[in-house]
């Protein structure tokens, strides 16, 4: 059974083709990694899976647990079990982190007690729950706040957008171990540049996105080692050899 199945997905943002014929499948219980150079479309792919209105699906579809979510509102996807830890979440004045955390815990009873436990799991003092969302948070605090919300939401499938960027060594361990524990028995898609998070999290498969296309997919350690050794040129060469071009290049040619 596949948790996430993306079929032949093409996406435009403000009239520009950003993703081309993307196929990507994450089977239940697997954790996949998404690599790609800056501007390759990683964030756009994530936003499309989440349902952001700026990402216009022009063809293809996204299935979640067998349900077609291609045109579903963001919040309904979240309710089905799509979770996300953003890389650069917006600051929202007056909206408290604790309010969001407790909104997930409501119905489970004793929300007020549980939020404290979760905050401690990511090294936050209780007072941190009274802070305005992402307002004046440091890089590390943003990561931990995103993970805290993920722990409270308990999604079936979680997208982690660069959970290792901007985190100092001390907190990397907290972040890495928390994510690893959370992912036990769950599925996820992790976007990472340097792969630090993979020191803590065992990923099954990696996909490389180049110019809005999936250039290759393979065992995560193998793909990471190749990228670290040869950079993304290796992937671009691979695409060329297979006669495939990035979608934005193709548009320019026309």
């Amino acid at each position: 059974m596949d948790v996430l199945k993306i079929e032949d997905l093409s996406v435009e943002i403000a009239g520009k083709r950003i993703l081309c014929n993307v196929d990507l499948t994450v089977p239940k219980g697997e954790v996949h990694v998404l690599f790609g150079p800056n501007g390759s479309g990683k964030t756009s792919l994530i936003q499309t899976i989440l349902g952001f209105s700026s990402c216009k699906v022009v063809s293809g579809k996204i299935l979640f647990d067998g349900v077609d979510i291609t045109h579903m509102p963001i919040n309904e996807r979240a309710k089905l079990g799509v979770g996300v830890a953003f890389q650069n979440p917006p600051a929202i004045r007056g909206v408290k982190l604790g309010h969001i955390v407790r909104s997930f815990l409501e119905g489970e009873g004793r929300a007020a007690r549980k939020d404290i436990g979760l905050a401690q799991a990511v090294n936050f003092p209780i007072e941190f729950l009274d802070r305005d969302l992402n307002l004046g948070f440091s890089g590390g605090e943003i990561k931990r706040s995103e993970i805290l919300q993920m722990l409270a939401q308990k999604p079936k499938f979680v997208i982690l957008d660069e959970p290792d960027s901007g985190v100092d060594v001390e907190n990397m361990e907290v972040v890495g171990k928390t994510i690893n524990n959370f992912l036990q028995g769950r599925s996820g898609l992790i976007v990472t540049h340097l792969g630090h998070i993979l020191n803590y999290v065992k990923a099954d498969v990696a996909h490389v996105l180049i110019g809005g296309r999936v250039a290759c997919s393979g065992r995560s350690t193998k793909v990471l080692n190749q990228i670290l050794k040869e950079g993304y040129k290796w992937c671009e060469r691979c695409l060329r050899e297979r006669g495939i071009e990035g979608c934005r290049k193709k548009r320019r040619k026309r």
Partner: protein
């Protein structure tokens, strides 16, 4: 007094520098007198409306009450526990009782500033006098209600508030109209005196009618180590409201803080500013404004900081949120430094709710309208006011009700 009358007569036709001009002749001054009574015995419709502006007719949690309906003072009383510590009465009575009232009357606001100040002198309808005696810390708020019960009435009040040396005073003022009132004009002169080492917190809640015009004229004088905090909340539609209160931080280390929350709805025209003049060594000022404009409302959020003394510091922050394409917010911050070493700064941001904020909250499972509501409520977060906790809860409830109704 005669001299003031003459000045007022000369300024009778003088339009205000800001805000739409109002034809003063279109209102009535003819209204029945109200009998004096105790506050809990006020009719239920009046009690209910007052509560919407923070004035409790059960007087629970209040140290004293002044209640004026139209042109009549109906009640003025201090609770037993605070007798000899604070005073509350009509300014008419205070002027009769104290010779020294001349030292406070029209001392901070010029009687000939414009036709509204002139009107308040020529057609004066009392107002309240509240005073904390020297060294007294009055921890429960005193409340004052200025109520308009008759349609098309012009009500002109003149208030004087004194915090004597080393005293502490919290005041809630609610200005309200009866549900039957459609239009009218309220002119309110308020002069605040914060003496050496005193602390005065003044929270004013306006709850007017849709076709009502309002012209408050206020000024405060803060002496050495004194602190003046004023919170202004206006959440209901009003035809036009224009005010630009000023705080003169005259004393060494004196402080003034203005907080305001404005919610412009329907065709409201709100022109609200705050001025702080730093005159004392080490004086400090802080102006924080939150403005939300919906429907066809127009909001002018002004702020002026004047640094007249070295080693003085003030900051102005204005944030505006537009909820409608036909509404507008003009944020107009001004800084004037007259000497070296006056440190003045401002930040202003006006815009619509950012799509990325809505999407972020939707990714957490909130619907689009829930996300919008959360953002708007968050924007109106009154914890920035630093109110005493009970008062904060009351004001928060009012803000929440308005926001819920508006969204």
């Amino acid at each position: 007094m005669q001299e003031k009358k003459e000045k007022a007569l000369k300024a009778r036709e003088k339009p205000a520098a800001l805000g739409p001009d109002i034809d003063l002749k279109s209102f009535t001054r003819d209204v029945k007198s109200w009998q004096r009574c105790i506050v809990p015995s006020l009719p239920e419709d009046i009690a209910k409306q007052s509560l919407n502006a923070g004035v409790r007719t059960d007087e629970k949690g209040r140290a004293g009450t002044y209640f004026q309906i139209d042109r009549s003072m109906v009640s003025q009383a201090i609770k037993k526990a605070f007798e000899g510590k604070a005073e509350i009465m009509s300014t008419k009575e205070a002027l009769e009782k104290y010779d020294w009232m001349d030292d406070y009357w029209w001392k901070l606001v010029a009687v000939d500033a414009d036709k509204y100040t002139a009107l308040a002198e020529l057609e004066w309808d009392m107002g309240y006098f509240i005073r904390a005696l020297e060294g007294q810390k009055i921890m429960l708020p005193l409340q004052a209600c200025l109520f308009v019960s008759k349609d098309n009435l012009n009500q002109n009040v003149h208030n004087v508030i004194i915090a004597e040396p080393n005293s502490e005073l919290h005041i809630i003022t609610g200005c309200v109209t009866h549900p039957n009132v459609q239009r009218g004009l309220h002119v309110g002169i308020s002069e605040f005196f914060v003496k050496k080492g005193a602390k005065l917190t003044f929270t004013m809640i306006h709850n007017w009618a849709q076709n009502f015009d309002v012209r408050p004229r206020s000024a405060a004088l803060i002496e050495d180590d004194g602190m003046f905090v004023t919170n202004y909340v206006c959440l209901k539609p009003v035809k036009s409201l224009q005010m630009y209160p000023v705080a003169y931080c005259k004393g060494a280390n004196s402080k003034a803080r203005f907080n305001s929350i404005l919610y412009g709805a329907k065709n409201s025209y709100l022109d609200v500013g705050s001025k702080v003049v730093l005159q004392g060594k080490g004086s400090r000022g802080e102006v924080t404004a939150r403005a939300i404009a919906s429907d066809n409302s127009q909001i002018y959020a002004r702020g002026l900081l004047v640094g007249e003394r070295e080693d003085s510091k003030a900051h102005l922050e204005c944030r505006g949120l537009l909820l409608s394409d036909s509404a507008s917010i003009h944020a107009i911050p001004e800084l004037i430094a007259k000497v070296k070493g006056a440190e003045l700064s401002h930040e202003a941001a006006v815009g619509k709710i950012a799509e990325e904020q809505i999407q972020y909250l939707m990714a957490r499972g909130f619907s689009e309208s829930e996300a919008e509501s959360l953002i708007v409520r968050g924007f109106m977060d009154i914890s920035i006011f630093g109110l005493p906790s009970q008062l904060q809860d009351e004001v928060k409830k009012m803000v929440d009700i308005t926001t819920a109704r508006a969204l």
